[in-house]
């Protein structure tokens, strides 16, 4: 695997990791924009805009976009998070030119009014669909409560009201402000050549507007809080707790990541042995989420409503013990072995490499090979984890819950 990077004259960053040993190639555009970049009255616009990209351009109609992707057999999609909107596809190497052109084109869609009106209905359906998924509802409330007063305290989808009120004029303005080369990284991974990538980038991206949209990335200092959403007919209680964690720019993020595996992976972790294995809960996981300038630990719990308080107490004890005593060398070794094989397996597919390449470049302007990731993983010590715990202890600053309970004790 060989890495290449260049910056086009308009400021667009282009990176590629070429690997002749695989059968396919993945390409994607990572746009540094998401829900956190939306001013209050346009909440939901990043995600809505991602949908509108597939409605096409003056050259490609909405039907053309889906048709051409399917004609080349692309596995393609797009996603929007709090901070990144990405458009991507994996294809056989001979179809890279058409796929690249199409992906590049739809980043600058026509945003026709009739398409906007129709797609708004789809988004409203998507919001309704997620309302029927209790853990998703709990996640939205956890983020809103935990990051209240910080740009990260937003819903990605927006609400029925905020999306309902959005206008295409607001969307055009948002697009003009955020879809500029300083905010976009073009990423290619897999079986192609750097010359081909350069040719395509120059042909289809060199007329993109330059400039950058700055986002405030001050670290959140959550004061915490609680949100209880009562659904009397539910059978299970879903709970999310959040606490501060290292930021995506912090070297401690590696320690935080492996700590979350040791403490809260879905198998053979502390939460697994002390809560899932004995059948106290349906599930209990700890995840580390790194954001631009901030970070969070998220604990996900699903349990019988009546046992909620005792399970929260169990959780607190587990975290207190980890904070006080750290983790053992045996636990760390076991987690390293587990994660190392995940890294290798994921890297065997170009789509697996794409997100890692894009994320590293977007957040830190760095390239990390699979070997770099493995070396970093192997170098981690219990002292690194101790340091992470000292700066960011595991705790429950914020709690949100969805289920039959009308109150919970935290």
């Amino acid at each position: 695997m060989k890495f290449h990077q260049t910056t086009l004259s308009n400021g667009l960053n282009v990176i590629a990791e070429i690997n002749p040993a695989v059968h396919s190639v993945a390409c994607g555009f990572f746009v540094r924009t998401g829900a956190r970049d939306e001013a209050g009255e346009v909440n939901g616009v990043s995600h809505f805009l991602e949908h509108m990209a597939f409605k096409g351009t003056d050259k490609f109609s909405a039907d053309d976009v889906n048709r051409v992707f399917d004609e080349v057999g692309a596995k393609y999609n797009a996603s929007t998070s709090e901070e990144v909107t990405m458009f991507y596809g994996a294809i056989l190497p001979e179809y890279l030119p058409q796929t690249f052109e199409l992906l590049a084109s739809i980043l600058f869609p026509s945003l026709r009014q009739e398409d906007f009106d129709m797609e708004k209905k789809v988004i409203l359906e998507e919001i309704s669909m997620y309302q029927d998924q209790p853990m998703h509802v709990a996640y939205e409330h956890a983020m809103l409560t935990h990051f209240a007063g910080h740009p990260l305290g937003v819903s990605i989808l927006g609400s029925l009201d905020s999306v309902g009120a959005l206008t295409s004029t607001q969307m055009r303005q948002y697009h003009a402000d955020h879809y500029r080369t300083g905010n976009i990284t073009c990423v290619v991974a897999g079986n192609t050549s750097w010359e081909e990538v350069l040719r395509l980038a120059n042909q289809f991206c060199s007329n993109w507007p330059s400039g950058q949209h700055e986002r405030p990335t001050f670290e959140a200092k959550p004061v915490g809080g609680k949100k209880v959403v009562t659904k009397l007919n539910s059978l299970q209680q879903n709970i999310i707790q959040m606490a501060a964690a290292p930021t995506s720019q912090d070297e401690l993020r590696y320690a935080a990541e492996i700590l979350s595996v040791i403490v809260g992976d879905d198998s053979s972790s502390r939460l697994y042995w002390d809560m899932v294995d004995p059948g106290y809960v349906e599930s209990a996981d700890l995840g580390y989420h790194d954001f631009d300038g901030s970070g969070a630990y998220l604990t996900f719990l699903s349990c019988e409503p009546d046992s909620t308080n005792e399970n929260l107490e169990r959780l607190r004890k587990i975290y207190d013990q980890v904070n006080a005593e750290g983790v053992t060398a045996t636990e760390l070794e076991q987690a390293k072995n587990k994660v190392a094989s995940r890294v290798v397996l994921r890297s065997e597919r170009p789509m697996g490499r794409l997100s890692s390449l894009g994320g590293n470049w977007l957040y830190r302007q760095e390239y990390r090979s699979v070997a770099d990731d493995m070396a970093k993983l192997q170098s981690l010590t219990v002292r690194d984890i101790r340091e992470a715990l000292d700066r960011y202890p595991l705790c429950s600053v914020t709690t949100s819950t969805v289920g039959p309970l009308e109150e919970i004790a935290v």
Binding site: F69, V281, S302, Q334, V344
Partner: protein, 413 residues
């Protein structure tokens, strides 16, 4: 398409091993299909297999639950155990050099599980909670309840069990599920990755060669469930499931049937997505899929719409399904072929998906179809073949299940 290197080895006790050597990857994966799926559960004990999948990893051979888990983690094995209607399946993937040790450990899990009585209540508590969670998620529930009504009994059973049968599941019923059904004959192991076939035959032979064969269990097929049903739920959307008859996996029409569904729902340019989501904005999620078993097949469709628009969604969905026989364009079929080609080639980048495919192929067909063969079969399809199939087996006699605040009307004409 790259030439595949696929080898089969039949052990004297009836165990079948299929190995695909893939020299461009670092990893290797296995899938082991044990003929102990939910169809073999006695009436009233739907859930035995699901209990067993959780219980079986709580200690095996000379390792207790934690030691077993630690050993698998140290091998970097990403593994799963799950119950299907036909099989209990065990699967794992890791760096290729660690596969032999992983298989040795799994022979303990499969042949020498402790099934400790003092952990049974914990298994029950976990399963009861996951079944309750399902009640809170109407979208997920819709798929399970649709299968339950449209497939022939006992293939229609929810593989994870049901809340109503839960009280009947005991230490004895689950142990009986294990002792009566786990056996080497009809058991299939698929291995794919950077491995040597002769070494794999040795490893699997040492681990499973002396396992004693048993008499296979019999299953008596029953009928199907109600064609119209509604489950009341205070949800934001109405979740719609529609099923109709299709062909089994070994059927000569299988690829034609697959392409017909692909015209409806393969990719975002397909009909259901275009007509229901893109042109009408009725849904976020709408799809149809080909669910083909060894003896029968169905097309299963799902759509979710907010409650006041759900009736229109169901009406348009049924119309689109029925319209397929009116005509299919060459371009629609060409897109199915392109999608098939790329997903076949990309399968060669995943040892996990290859291991699963070769094992399932052996069960369903008694042989392995090469990726080239699948591609040839798809390439030879024509629009007249698809139309002929759709006319012989039209979308009709629908099973319709909805979950939401209000029942919908089924307008079939």
């Amino acid at each position: 398409m790259q030439q595949q290197s696929i080898h089969t080895h039949h052990f004297p006790n009836g165990l079948m091993l299929i190995v695909e050597e893939m020299k461009d990857v670092q990893s290797a994966a296995f899938t082991c299909l044990v003929p102990a799926g939910s169809i073999f559960e006695p009436e009233g004990q739907n859930g035995n297999g699901s209990f067993l999948c959780d219980w079986i990893t709580r200690g095996a051979g000379d390792r207790d639950s934690r030691e077993l888990s630690a050993a698998l983690d140290n091998l970097g094995l990403q593994h799963n155990e799950h119950i299907g209607s036909q099989h209990v399946s065990f699967g794992g993937a890791t760096i290729a050099t660690r596969l032999p040790d992983s298989i040795r450990i799994y022979s303990d899990v499969i042949r020498r599980p402790h099934l400790p009585e003092d952990e049974f209540d914990a298994v029950r508590d976990g399963i009861e909670q996951s079944l309750k969670s399902l009640e809170d998620e109407p979208q997920r529930k819709a798929t399970i309840e649709l299968r339950r009504r449209s497939f022939t009994h006992p293939w229609s059973r929810p593989v994870d069990g049901t809340l109503e049968d839960l009280p009947n599941i005991t230490v004895d019923t689950v142990r009986n599920h294990y002792t009566s059904l786990f056996r080497p004959n009809d058991c299939i192991i698929g291995i794919a990755g950077n491995v040597d076939v002769m070494e794999m035959i040795d490893v699997v032979g040492e681990a499973f060669g002396d396992w004693q064969a048993k008499t296979p269990a019999k299953v008596t097929p029953g009928g199907t469930g109600p064609k119209r049903d509604f489950i009341q739920h205070e949800s934001s959307q109405t979740h719609i499931g529609v099923a109709y008859d299709s062909v089994s996996y070994p059927d000569p029409d299988y690829y034609t049937a697959w392409a017909a569904v692909s015209v409806l729902s393969g990719g975002m340019s397909a009909r259901l997505f275009t007509e229901i989501r893109e042109k009408r904005g009725l849904c976020y999620s709408v799809y149809a899929s080909q669910a083909a078993m060894k003896h029968e097949g169905r097309v299963l469709c799902y759509a979710g719409s907010s409650n006041d628009r759900a009736q229109e969604t169901l009406d348009v969905l049924l119309q689109e399904l029925k319209k397929l026989g009116d005509g299919i364009q060459e371009e629609e079929l060409a897109r199915c072929k392109a999608r098939a080609k790329s997903s076949l080639i990309m399968q060669q980048e995943s040892t996990g998906s290859r291991a699963g495919s070769i094992a399932r192929d052996w069960f369903l067909l008694g042989r392995v179809t090469t990726l080239q063969e699948v591609r040839d079969r798809v390439d030879e399809l024509t629009v007249p073949m698809l139309l002929d199939y759709v006319h012989r087996k039209p979308a009709q006699d629908f099973t319709v299940l909805t979950i939401g605040p209000k029942a919908l009307e089924v307008n079939e004409s």
